[in-house]
């Protein structure tokens, strides 16, 4: 027993209350602010409108194109982005900050600027663009162009996710593997990659989801062939809000599907860790 008198704590009841109020209200507000518009949109079209839209060949083609081009972009990210993610996770080198900044840049550049920049590079007024055109590669208004744009905007999401995954593989495992005789390549494929495969899958889905949502850059590079967001924009400007809502609903549902996948995968990833 201490010799000091036992004074009851001056529990700050009022500030505690205000604190709780702040936490509760802002949580509710934020969740409502995200959920309500989406829910309202899903509830807007009638069943007939929805069915009609689902039978509309233009809509189906554009959604298909969106998914196809996004998938292509995420495969590109897997092949070309994985080594960079690994290097960023494991090495320190002069200028690393600059490289990391460069990787994140596509998130921050206004989307139409991304389109403009890609068109500028591929335009006939510079040598690279002329080489491309001579090789028959056309960016403007082509699926190649769309894929390039989607790869550009989706890449940071892939690289950052996978870099994180690589960082979570303890370096000590690689050290032990090296000391046991496995070279850098064997260590990468036998130890690092298997332990990171789920991160890579999550990264691909992130990249694909981001690519699916892109509009501003695509609309500049390729209005036609229309990807789904462009189609929706066209319907909105040509026919108005209520005509565009059924398409919006379809896109929301496609996003939710990816989302669900993502959550299931990243959940089990955490459970494994």
């Amino acid at each position: 027993m201490r010799a000091f008198p036992a004074t009851e704590g001056r529990a700050g009841v009022l500030p505690g209350l205000i604190f709780h109020l702040w936490v509760v209200t802002s949580c509710v507000l934020v969740l409502l602010f995200i959920a309500a518009p989406l829910a309202r949109t899903i509830a807007s079209p009638t069943l007939e409108q929805m069915l009609a839209t689902l039978r509309d060949a233009d809509v189906l083609r554009s959604v298909g194109l969106s998914i196809w081009a996004s998938a292509l972009a995420s495969v590109l990210a897997l092949i070309l982005g994985t080594p960079l993610a690994y290097v960023l996770a494991r090495r320190t080198f002069r200028g690393k900050k600059i490289v990391e900044s460069l990787i994140d840049l596509p998130i921050m550049i206004p989307h139409p600027v991304v389109g403009i920049a890609l068109l500028t590079l591929a335009g006939r007024n510079n040598w690279f663009g002329r080489i491309l055109t001579d090789m028959g590669v056309n960016i403007m208004g082509s699926i190649t162009g769309i894929t390039a744009v989607l790869f550009f905007v989706g890449l940071p999401f892939y690289i950052n996710t996978v870099k994180n995954g690589f960082e979570n593989v303890p370096v000590r495992l690689e050290n032990v593997s090296r000391s046991l005789g496995a070279g850098p390549s064997a260590t990468f494929f036998r130890i690092t990659l298997p332990l990171c495969s789920r991160s890579m899958l999550v990264g691909m889905i992130m990249c694909m989801a981001r690519a699916l949502s892109e509009f501003g850059a695509v609309v500049i590079v390729a209005y036609h062939p229309m990807v789904a967001p462009v189609l929706m924009y066209e319907r909105f400007t040509a026919y108005g809000l209520s005509y565009s809502q059924p398409v919006a609903v379809i896109l929301i549902l496609v996003s939710l599907l990816f989302f669900f996948l993502l959550r299931v995968l990243s959940k089990s990833e955490k459970e494994e860790a």
């Binding site: 000391s179 046991l180 064997a186």
Partner: protein, 350 residues
Amino acid sequence: MIRVSGLSLRLGDFALQDVSLHVRPGEFFALMGPTGSGKTVVLESIAGLIQWQRGEIHIAGRDVTALPPERRRVSLVYQDHALFPHLTVLENVIFGQRYHGISPADGLREANELLDRLGLSRLCGRTPENLSGGEKQRVALARALACRPNVVLLDEPLSSLDPQFRDDLRSALKTLHMQMNLTVLMVTHDFVDALSLASRAAVIRGGRMEQVGQIDEIFRQPRSTFVAAFVGMKNVFRVTSPGLCELGNGVGFAVPDAAHGAMALRPEDVFVTRNPDLPGNWICLPAKIRSVRHEGFSWFTEAVCGHAVITAALDRQCLMAGGLEPGSPVWLGFTPERLHLVPDGSDETG
């Protein structure tokens, strides 16, 4: 087997300065030092995992300075065992064999032998997450040995274990070392582990070697007060005049004329008796008990002797005989050989 000469490197604030050591074939060598002294850096340099700026490392007669880790034939065992979580115990153990020209059949046989020897046979098909701490560490050991390394490097192999498992693994290590004639370099911050396992050792501090030698020599004859404190040599007597350590109140003892600095003495080397019935050549000092305390199963007394306080270990017989109440007069005895000269007795650390 391992010869490190003049190793120097700089990592942020930390620097390794001109570290040299030599581990002989078949030897169990302990590199001791407090946290942050650079012992793991030395280990990782030998394994080739860290770039160093100056110095050379030879392993099994080859200059490995320019070789990547996978060509050095040294196996590493980390404190946190670092088992590959996606492989079974057996897959972990055979992981490295293919890179050392060991045929799968031979490899499997040897792996099974090792697992058997370490009492892990029944765990072959399990994944690491289901193992206890002691089992994981033994699997890591088996994995390190399965690819026939020239040297095994152990990074604090015991310190992550509960005391119960620690004893078991310590015996396992000792047995393996003797039976397989392994060359082992172990890093540890715990001098008890070093004392139990190693035959030679070194003490490192702030990136510099403080002392290298036989383990007994380090424990009996620390060359600095830092090493003395590190190995638990609690009694340090200043040499007051040539040939004499005075403790005040007319108590004192003779030391060799050439000695200056300080004399250090382990509590375990001081005997406490009620009658001065010790051999004739012993130093025998009158003292008064100040306190008796136990640390774990060992009992110690602090006794006032002149103006000095001497810590001494107590034997069970002595405890049972009684008469150790505070204030009781006793005799403290020790042989002059146990008294060790610490040349840099003026060092700031205590």
